[in-house]
């Protein structure tokens, strides 16, 4: 016992902290610690389309453009390009041409694909490799060919690019190339060399510039040039990973990205951890010298002009459960975190006036809170094909308007989101051109402007509209039958009951019965595809900050049932559609604003979406993290972040001193508990005869 005590005291004295999940050698190092919940499915820029994947791919791959890190509204700036390309119309506007000029001297990260001898590896050698980086490494300069190669990869029959359908509509020859490759690729070849196949609409001008020819006008194309779909991919990388034996080791381009960005993926274990290391060949990029109003006051311009990246390594650990994730953040083992809904009250307090702040516990740790409205909308949609709530008839329109007043989204946000949301007054998200704010921005059919803020209209007005729709007191005026509506939703378990009850109460306010058809995601999608839903809840996250990317969700040509598009409400309005066709190809201007205003008015009046909300993200970061600013459009944010590693190490030590007395107490209790047993045992052993 004494020896055990001495050992415990000795160990406690020697070790700094016992609960540090990272190697002792990394303490005090310039490493950023983060976590991921969902394992990425694809890291190939031609296939990757989710945020979970973008946080890795966008550190490695560099498309020609990027979003300015600090400025708002979001603004495109060059990344590898020399300037943001301008659209040049040719043949009387039949085609549009973008010429992209890239910087000279940009070099790829060190990679075995750039060493010729690594292209003829024996299968046995590959089988012995722990990582592709165990092989000799090389590099080369980035050229326009790499961008062209990637655009051709959109059409590859071996890959599944989610934007092939969309881009085939615009890039000249892309659809034809895809058809040609499909016929040609019998999978007999080991590697499909796309350099040998011409893409009519993409042309190399010289080693540092290329030209993309689009059908008609598509001003939103420049936004796509800021996404990894248009990042460069060296042909050598594809060829290297196509060698026999590579796939069996999970060495594929889909899992081992090769780029020119600030970081390179050096450890890829999506089951446990992913590690990015600074790309030694990165050219360096200056931190922005200007930003949005208030950025300087928040210290976001303190590093203006300094060469990025600031952090040497970024370690992502897999955390599938929110409790360990949150606790490790509080212990200082993650540098930043979102706030799980279970722990919201522990982290944030909302004053009577509605001001949001951190709890004293968080403030004492120096934790900082940043909030930002997501460029996302979640809405209660109506199926336009439904006989009761859908369609252009005045009766159903008034019914929708009545529901739009009755459903109190402010209350929903307060109860279920801890206030982390903004009521949507139109289909556009905050920060997107065309969305008006303040008095001009409210939906006058559902809200009034009173006391300097939007107030929901009284429910009596909803009842009056319902009566005008032919349902006085929630009953059909002709038949007397109660009005029963159906809401299709994707349930997540018993925890949904309060939310379902809330939905029923909203409709009960106007004496309408609501039946909730709770289903799984697959069946829900099937109903949407077939148009068999009545009311449903769905959302949209912006691809790029343009009103077209939201308003197309109500465009008739995109109707889900008719054309399998993104208009899940199957909403059709000839005027709206005509305005959309005009608006989508316009540059931001007063005229475009006027058209958008009219479209928003139509959408409010027709109400194919009966209101909704925009989530507001609450992010926490420790005091040792600098330059963190939420950016909903881009995920290439790691190069901007700076950390004070020494300060972090000191605070971690302070916060995580091992508490040994409970261990000693438990040991003492075990010993104390075994004494009576021992005494009893000895007594029995000494007994002359066994008890009967």
């Amino acid at each position: 016992m004494r020896a055990l005590l001495l050992t415990l005291v000795f160990v406690a004295g020697c070790a700094e902290v016992w609960n540090d999940p990272y190697p002792a050698a990394d303490r005090g190092r310039n490493v950023l610690y983060s976590a991921f919940t969902e394992r990425p499915k694809h890291l190939d820029p031609v296939q990757s389309y989710t945020e979970d994947e973008a946080r890795f791919t966008q550190q490695v791959y560099e498309p020609p453009l990027q979003y300015h890190y600090l400025r708002r509204p979001y603004e495109l700036v060059p990344l590898t390009a020399l300037e943001v390309p301008r659209a040049v119309e040719v043949e009387g506007g039949r085609y549009t041409v973008y010429t992209i000029r890239i910087r000279r001297g940009i070099r790829y990260q060190p990679h075995p694909a750039f060493v010729a001898q690594n292209h003829g590896l024996e299968r046995a050698r590959i089988a012995r490799l722990d990582s592709p980086y165990s092989l000799p490494l090389g590099t080369r300069e980035l050229t326009a060919d790499d961008y062209i190669y990637e655009i051709k990869r959109l059409a590859s029959p071996r890959l599944h690019s989610p934007i092939l359908g969309l881009m085939s509509e615009y890039i000249v020859g892309l659809r034809e190339l895809a058809a040609r490759l499909r016929k040609l690729d019998t999978r007999k070849q080991d590697w499909l060399d796309l350099r040998e196949h011409r893409l009519e609409g993409v042309e190399k001008v010289d080693d540092y510039s290329y030209r993309v020819k689009l059908k008609g006008r598509y001003p939103q194309f420049v936004y796509w040039l800021a996404m990894p779909f248009f990042a460069p991919v060296p042909w050598e990388a594809e060829r290297f990973f196509e060698q026999p034996g590579m796939a069996e080791k999970n060495f594929t381009l889909d899992w081992w990205p090769v780029g020119t960005g600030a970081y390179m993926l050096t450890e890829n274990n999506p089951n446990a951890k992913m590690e990015l290391a600074r790309n030694p060949n990165f050219r360096g990029e200056p931190y922005p010298a200007d930003g949005a109003p208030g950025d300087a006051a928040e210290g976001l311009l303190a590093d203006a002009g300094r060469t990025m990246p600031f952090v040497e390594r970024v370690l992502f650990s897999r955390e599938k459960e929110s409790i360990p994730y949150w606790n490790k953040f509080l212990q200082g083992y993650y540098d930043s975190s979102a706030i799980p809904s279970d722990t919201f009250d522990q982290a944030v307090r909302v004053s009577i006036g509605g001001e949001v702040g951190l709890t004293p516990e968080m403030e004492a740790k120096g934790i900082r809170l940043r909030t930002s409205a997501d460029t996302t909308i979640l809405y209660l949609g109506v199926n336009w094909l439904d006989a009761t709530v859908g369609g252009d008839a005045e009766r159903s329109r008034k019914l929708r308007q009545a529901i739009a007043i009755a459903v109190d989204w402010e209350e929903f946000i307060s109860i279920f989101l801890n206030g982390r949301g903004q009521v949507a007054h139109d289909p556009l998200a905050p920060g997107i051109f065309g969305q008006r704010s303040g008095r001009e921005g409210i939906n006058p059919l559902t809200h009034l402007w009173q006391g300097g803020r939007a107030q929901r209209r009284p429910v009596e007005q909803a009842r009056a509209l319902l009566a005008e729709a032919g349902y006085p007191d929630g009953r059909d005026a002709k038949t007397g039958a109660p009005l029963v509506l159906y809401l299709d939703t994707v349930g997540r378990g018993p925890g949904d009951k309060p939310r379902f009850d809330w939905w029923r109460r909203q409709f009960a306010k106007i004496s309408v019965q609501l039946e909730i058809r709770d289903t799984d995601w697959n069946r829900f999608q099937e109903k949407i595809r077939k148009g068999s839903q009545q009311l449903y809840i769905l959302g949209w996250n912006a691809d790029y900050p343009d009103p077209e990317n939201f308003l197309f969700l109500l465009h008739g040509a995109q109707a889900r049932v008719k054309s399998q598009g993104e208009n899940t409400s199957n909403y059709v309005n000839a005027e709206f559609d005509a305005l959309f066709e005009r608006m989508k190809n316009m540059a931001n201007s007063e005229e475009r604003q006027r058209i958008i205003d009219r479209m928003v008015d139509i959408a409010r009046r027709d109400a194919p979406w009966i209101g909704g909300f925009h989530p507001v993200a609450y992010g926490l970061s420790h005091a040792w993290v600098s330059n963190g600013k939420p950016n909903n459009m881009a995920r290439n944010n790691l190069k901007y972040v700076r950390i004070d590693a020494r300060g972090r190490a000191a605070l971690r030590r302070e916060w995580n001193q091992a508490v040994l007395w409970p261990v000693l107490l438990i040991l003492a209790l075990l010993v104390a508990g075994s004494i009576p047993a021992y005494v009893s045992y000895r007594r029995r052993e000494r007994m002359a005869a066994k008890p009967a």
Binding site: P157, P162, E248, A272
Partner: protein
């Protein structure tokens, strides 16, 4: 014995085919190949052509069980079930829907699963048997009474509670171990201490109580009375006679579990961030990855059959009265 093993192995084949068919039916009852394609391709901008292409690339564009467009054997062989299932019997698991090699994943993840499951199994077994023997030794005393109360109380609590409570106390309040994570080699020890302790505690109540019942039943038999009548010390009676003979029913529950230790723990691995086969299976179910689900169910059932076979063999070793039929 060899003939017995061969016979049992041959029996296993129709069982595995049946399990495979059952898994297949269950999976495709709730997921269509279209659903799987959508899950992998995402929800944005997915065209019907893209879905068709995804299915064709992975062989999900064929009928599920019967191909009416083909004649003879091909009407069965040109189906998703046949093409996906046959290779399993050669332990060719193919690729997951995210294109990662399943065999490679299993090899990589087996280590962490075993690193957690083996200590929990061995130490847990030792602790539970010791405690159960103690309770049996002190039967009908207050030590036995409170021991049973403790067991009933502990078996009534959800294992999730032990995990969350353990993480809260051991890592959050006392800072004695990392709350989650995993590293290979010796570094794994600091990540495994807490899950192992919690794993042992969470299985303690039910197992110890069961073993106590087994030992008490054994203690009431004639040979124990004879041993006592011979004047043997109680400790000798307990450890040399009761423990040995009580092990036969214990083996039923224990040996069958040994091969399945490879499969890991579904809940513990998720909460403690251990990248084992348990969390792999959970991930696959959530991602509707039929290739992985099918492989894990196949391995699980095969290992379970091996476990049952080992149990039968072990019977003959510990009880000379049992012979292979």
């Amino acid at each position: 014995m060899l003939a017995y093993i061969v016979r049992r192995t041959l029996y296993a084949i129709p069982i595995l085919v049946g399990i495979n068919l059952f898994t297949f039916a269950l999976f495709f009852l709730v997921n269509t190949p279209d659903d799987m394609a959508r899950m992998q391709l995402g929800v944005k901008r997915v065209t019907p052509e893209a879905i068709q292409k995804w299915k064709a690339d992975r062989g999900y564009d064929k009928p599920l069980l019967y191909n009416a467009g083909q004649d003879g054997v091909r009407s069965v062989s040109e189906t998703i079930f046949f093409e996906k299932s046959l290779k399993l019997f050669a332990f060719d698991f193919g690729r997951a829907e995210d294109n990662r090699d399943i065999a490679n994943e299993i090899r990589t993840r087996m280590g962490p699963s075993l690193a957690l499951a083996v200590p929990v199994f061995l130490v847990g077994l030792a602790v539970n048997i010791t405690f159960a023997l103690g309770m049996a030794f002190f039967r009908a005393t207050y030590l036995d009474f409170w021991g049973v109360i403790l067991c009933v109380a502990m078996m009534s609590i959800s294992s999730l509670f032990y995990i969350i409570g353990g993480q809260y106390l051991i890592s959050k309040l006392w800072h004695l171990a990392p709350i989650s994570g995993y590293e290979g080699g010796l570094d794994a020890l600091k990540f495994l201490v807490m899950p192992v302790i919690i794993g042992i505690i969470s299985s303690f109540g039910g197992s110890a109580r069961f073993y106590r019942t087994v030992f008490l039943e054994e203690m009431g038999k004639d040979y124990v009375r004879t041993a006592r009548a011979k004047g043997l010390a109680e400790s000798v009676v307990m450890f040399r006679h009761v423990l040995k003979n009580g092990l036969i029913p214990v083996l039923t529950g224990v040996v069958v579990v040994i091969p399945t230790l490879f499969l890991g723990s579904l809940i513990s691995e998720s909460f403690f961030g251990i990248p084992g086969l348990g969390s792999y299976t959970i991930d696959a179910i959530q991602a509707q990855d039929f290739a992985v689900v099918r492989s894990m169910v196949f391995i699980g059932s095969a290992l379970y059959i091996v476990g049952l076979l080992l149990t039968d063999i072990s019977y003959t070793m510990v009880d000379p009265r049992v012979r292979f039929g």
